[in-house]
């Protein structure tokens, strides 16, 4: 029996705007998010009681207000995980108050996947993704100790650099594999709101005299006397830099892991989860996908103008060309001992040792163990696919089944079963609107 409600996974800009649109159309919505608060990573807030102003406070307020106006129809469960759908269309939610139910549709709004290329030493403590440093800064309200280097490519390097600087901790250096400042024409044609934000970031970094080294790659990271020693390459000139923390970021990708193949109920991705267009587009995309779901369910849907979505799409294309480069690392040049898959400890050498029998999408997983670890391949499959493209065309297959993330057996069993009847799930939202 189908629950009367629609499940929205992710309480970031796309998920919340989708939920609000559905609720405005009279639908009942369940929103789940793994974080203790709504807002997603972009609107993550300080959880430690610090009262300094948040970044994007105004946008966040506006989004939360739209959702708050529909509170009666939106049931929000924070600190919960969406484990996945089974083939009969049941959804399993685990966490603080887990439950199993059958939604009539699902909107996936779990945000983008952050890409980090493997490099020698990328597994050392102190080396994190740029996204990790950013979430940490936002939720702890204070920057980490020690000297910080930011490296890789993409606009997030500058966003984090500026946010750290504004929090009183300018990064020691930013290494950008691309040459974003050599594209004044493309930059000038960016929409005003993006240009303003970018200019703000750059001015903050310039005022704090943060060295920005474009066209520079990190070749390797080593641990030396409790610090991180980075070997960099700037067009054939090699340098060694010592820092305490390194944030790596090589772009964002859509998030297409773990959903049941041919689900029996409509499942649509929204926002960066579907296509990485940034937070402004995500709000709009949430509206659009909600309307799409309403249409599929045969209920009246609001008309959604796609003009602003198309503007953001064009802007993202321009940003991509501004940050274009020929790889933060040449994957083919990685030393044999470089770890590709942390979970199963598989290196470049292990990949090279595979034989013809192993080079099918299935055997690359089963025998190669690539993509078989606890992260389910999120951090290695992109690179394994590139490295094996010549032999196989496609890399190891991505799982299309639950669980979307590792889940404790106790939590699978503790989830209350609401799938068999019309019983509504207890009003147990634990989030507060502030």
């Amino acid at each position: 029996m189908t629950d009367r409600r629609i499940l929205v996974v992710g309480a970031g800009p796309a998920g919340l705007s989708a939920a609000a649109t559905l609720a405005q159309a009279g639908q009942r919505v369940v929103v789940v998010d793994q974080a203790p608060q709504i807002g997603g990573t972009v609107y993550a807030q300080n959880r430690t009681g610090d009262t300094r102003p948040l970044s994007h406070a105004k946008e966040r307020r506006a989004l939360f207000d739209v959702v708050a106006a529909q509170r009666e129809r939106i049931d929000i469960h924070c600190s919960t995980s969406f484990v996945g759908l089974d083939y009969q269309g049941n959804a399993l939610i685990t966490g603080a108050d887990g439950f199993l139910f059958q939604p009539k549709a699902v909107i996936m709004a779990t945000g983008a996947r952050e890409l980090v290329q493997p490099r020698p030493g990328w597994t050392l403590p102190g080396v994190t993704s740029v996204g990790a440093l950013q979430v940490d800064l936002k939720t702890a309200g204070r920057p980490p100790e020690g000297r910080i280097a930011i490296a890789g490519s993409g606009s997030l390097l500058y966003a984090l650099g500026a946010q750290l600087t504004r929090a009183g901790k300018a990064p020691a250096v930013i290494f950008d594999a691309a040459h974003p400042f050599l594209h004044p024409l493309a930059t000038a044609r960016l929409p005003l709101h993006i240009l303003q934000e970018a200019t703000g970031f750059i001015l903050t970094l310039i005022r704090a005299r943060v060295p920005i080294l474009s066209g520079t790659r990190i070749l390797s990271v080593e641990e030396k006397k409790g610090a991180l020693s980075l070997k960099t390459n700037h067009g054939g000139r090699f340098r060694t830099v010592e820092v305490d923390r390194l944030g790596l970021h090589d772009g964002l990708a859509r998030n297409d892991y773990g959903l049941q193949k041919n689900p029996t109920i409509p499942v649509i991705a929204a926002g960066d989860c579907r296509d990485v267009l940034g937070r402004f587009a995500a709000v709009k995309d949430g509206n659009r996908v909600a309307a799409e779901i309403l249409n599929l369910l045969g209920t009246p849907a609001p008309g959604i103008s796609l003009t602003s979505l198309n503007t953001e799409k064009a802007a993202q294309r321009r940003l991509k060309s501004i940050f274009a480069h020929d790889g933060c690392n040449d994957l083919n040049d990685l030393p044999d001992e470089t770890i590709l898959c942390r979970c199963e400890n598989r290196s470049v050498a292990d990949l090279k040792a595979l034989t013809a029998t192993d080079q099918t999408p299935r055997m690359l997983r089963l025998n190669g163990r690539f993509g078989m670890g606890a992260c389910q391949g999120r951090f290695c499959l992109d690179w394994v696919a590139k490295l094996t493209a010549a032999e196989m065309g496609s890399g190891p297959s991505r799982p299309q089944r639950w669980p979307l993330r590792p889940v404790l057996i106790a939590e699978i069993l503790n989830a209350a079963d609401h799938s068999g009847n019309e019983t509504h799930i207890e009003e147990s939202a634990k989030c507060t609107f502030r």
């Binding site: 793994q34 403590p125 996204g131 951090f379």
Partner: protein, 84 residues
């Protein structure tokens, strides 16, 4: 509100709203255990995806240190090494 978590029987203070990883990190603990090849387990992705910061919550099982909020008296230890 603040309190303490236990890391291998060592008291580690936290502030309300901090994750296990944030509290441990602030106490200078970045090495959260040992991976398969002897490499350190530590925070990497920060959003519960990469499984690199896995620790054992006493009585509950493995969990991501970057995702779980501190609570007073919570006992946390490194992940055991597989038997093979």
């Amino acid at each position: 509100m603040t309190g303490h978590i236990l890391w291998n029987d060592r008291d580690v203070p936290y502030e309300q709203g901090e994750t296990l990883a944030q509290a441990l990190n602030r106490a200078g603990i970045t090495h959260l255990g040992t991976g398969l090849a002897g490499q350190s387990r530590s925070v990497f992705c920060g959003i519960g995806q990469c499984q690199n910061c896995l620790v054992i919550l006493e009585g509950k099982g493995p969990c991501e240190a970057c995702r779980v909020l501190c609570a007073d008296g919570l006992a946390v230890s490194p992940v055991g090494t597989p038997h093979d």
